[in-house]
Symmetry: C2
Subunit: 295 residues, 2 copies
């Protein structure tokens, strides 16, 4: 079996047209027909139910099963390209989510510099959710991440660097009786981080369970801006304590009746990534920082 045929097949299931698929790969239409036939005869199973009209292609059960494995094969093939390029250039593409980076980078910068890693790492800044996807796709090789649960896919190895907690925060100008109930916050204006961060997911959970934080008046991906707005008493907010280091003018509210999930600061990489010297150094540096370990 040829990887190219697998690519033809997967694209065909997406476009549902032999002609369009052929056009997509700049080959003639019979090329696709023969490619599918080749695989059907190799595995002695009909994969596709054909009809001679537009978008009529459906998969047989065997075809559906084949598609599952085909996607995995293409992912590995793609990771080969990405991984070998990384090894050739000896450069690691590393993800840095804003909150976690601002907190951790000062703690490791000198070590990165002393071990000659600064020129070996190409940073990619984005939200944790987006970075996890990029890691899966091979677009980056390793990433810092802030999450409330461990990566499930288990294609990932991870190391917990620190366990932090979520806080509800308000301006210092406000006075509250504490500890307080979450219900006393029902009518507060609320500022939140946008969907690039994991915060939004937690908030949605809180909204559903406690019917609070319904007055969301502003949403942003910039947590520094968020903190500024809270400081200026434009509303209250919800954020990991990671973001609150050395920030003044802001108070954390003690809520007696709600437990938030933990917020893990972790280092994640694909388990299939060979640990070369650069990757190993990065892992070691964050390892020496961490207090817990996962796998």
């Amino acid at each position: 079996m040829n990887i190219k045929d697998v690519q033809y097949f997967v694209k065909l299931t997406e476009l549902k047209s032999y002609s369009d698929t052929a056009h997509f790969f700049s080959v003639s239409q019979p090329t696709i027909t023969y490619a599918i036939k080749r695989m059907e005869s190799e595995f002695d199973a009909e994969l596709i139910i054909r009809k001679s009209y537009a978008n009529s292609i459906t998969l047989t059960p065997a075809g559906q099963q084949f598609l599952i494995h085909a996607r995995k094969i293409l992912r590995e093939n793609n990771l080969i390209k990405k991984d070998l390029t990384r090894i050739k250039n000896d450069k690691l593409k590393m993800g840095f989510p804003p909150i976690i980076s601002d907190y951790l980078i000062p703690q490791v910068f000198d070590q990165f510099k002393d071990r000659g890693l600064l020129s070996r790492i190409k940073p990619v800044r984005s939200g944790s959710k987006e970075l996890l996807q990029q890691l899966y796709d091979g677009k980056i090789d390793i990433s810092l991440l802030g999450t409330t649960s461990f990566p499930k896919a288990a294609n990932f190895d991870f190391k917990i660097i620190k366990t932090h907690h979520f806080k509800i925060i308000a301006s210092d100008q406000r006075k509250f009786n504490q500890p307080m109930s979450i219900n006393e916050l029902k009518n507060e204006d609320f500022l939140i981080l946008d969907s690039s961060s994991v915060h939004q997911l937690i908030i949605n959970g809180l909204i559903e369970r406690y019917n609070v934080f319904t007055n969301v008046i502003y949403q942003t991906g910039d947590y520094k801006l968020l903190l500024d707005l809270v400081r200026q008493n434009k509303g209250i907010s919800f954020i990991a304590e990671t973001a609150l280091q050395g920030e003044d003018g802001i108070q954390e509210l003690e809520i007696s009746d709600v437990d938030f999930p933990p917020f893990y600061l972790m280092l994640v990489y694909r388990a299939s990534t060979r640990k070369g010297p650069v990757l190993q150094k990065v892992i070691d540096i964050f390892d020496s920082l961490g207090d817990e370990t996962g796998d």
Copy 2:
């Protein structure tokens, strides 16, 4: 890239000889040389460091990384064959470990019969460890399993059917002061299940931590035989309560100072297995039996 080339590569890393690899696949030696060269030029990376003498082949870092992905590609390729054969024959190869099967099968037999599954399932009897490997390799499609921890590889979906506990057992003829300390068993003769079962692992842990059960006088894969020997007071043993249903002449000893891990009875299958009617029915039947769920 051709799957055949990947097979050549992986075998070459195992045999460390172009000639032997060629011989293994019944092709000429230059076929292997050219196959490797093809992939090296496709990914623009040297994979193998060649020398002109025996077993001298070593992998470059790129080659090591390539090998990791190559193995995964071959596994998927192999699973395609196995899965499509299963779909064609409409028969599920299912693993049944002895202890768990004896306990669960009576509870589901009628449902299996009523839903017409008996002729659709080809049973494979073996120990849990062996069955998990067979499941990974695609030799079976689904399996009952008795384990103390969840399958890590996450290529697996699993459903907990029941959580049981391990017991230390002795013949009814013996008298013990209970609850008792594990140390009082130091000099007892001990009968154990062999390495096909998960029991041996737990026992090894106990031996290390508590320095007990050092007098292992007999070891067997047949738990019914084990129970018979305990009943006849040939020694004490350690076994999941699953095996003790309706067995008389045997007492469970209450140990006050040791906690054993839980023993999960679970149904496991590859996450990549498409859920056809037969598989879905099997899952449903055990689902209706279970009390907890995992994923």
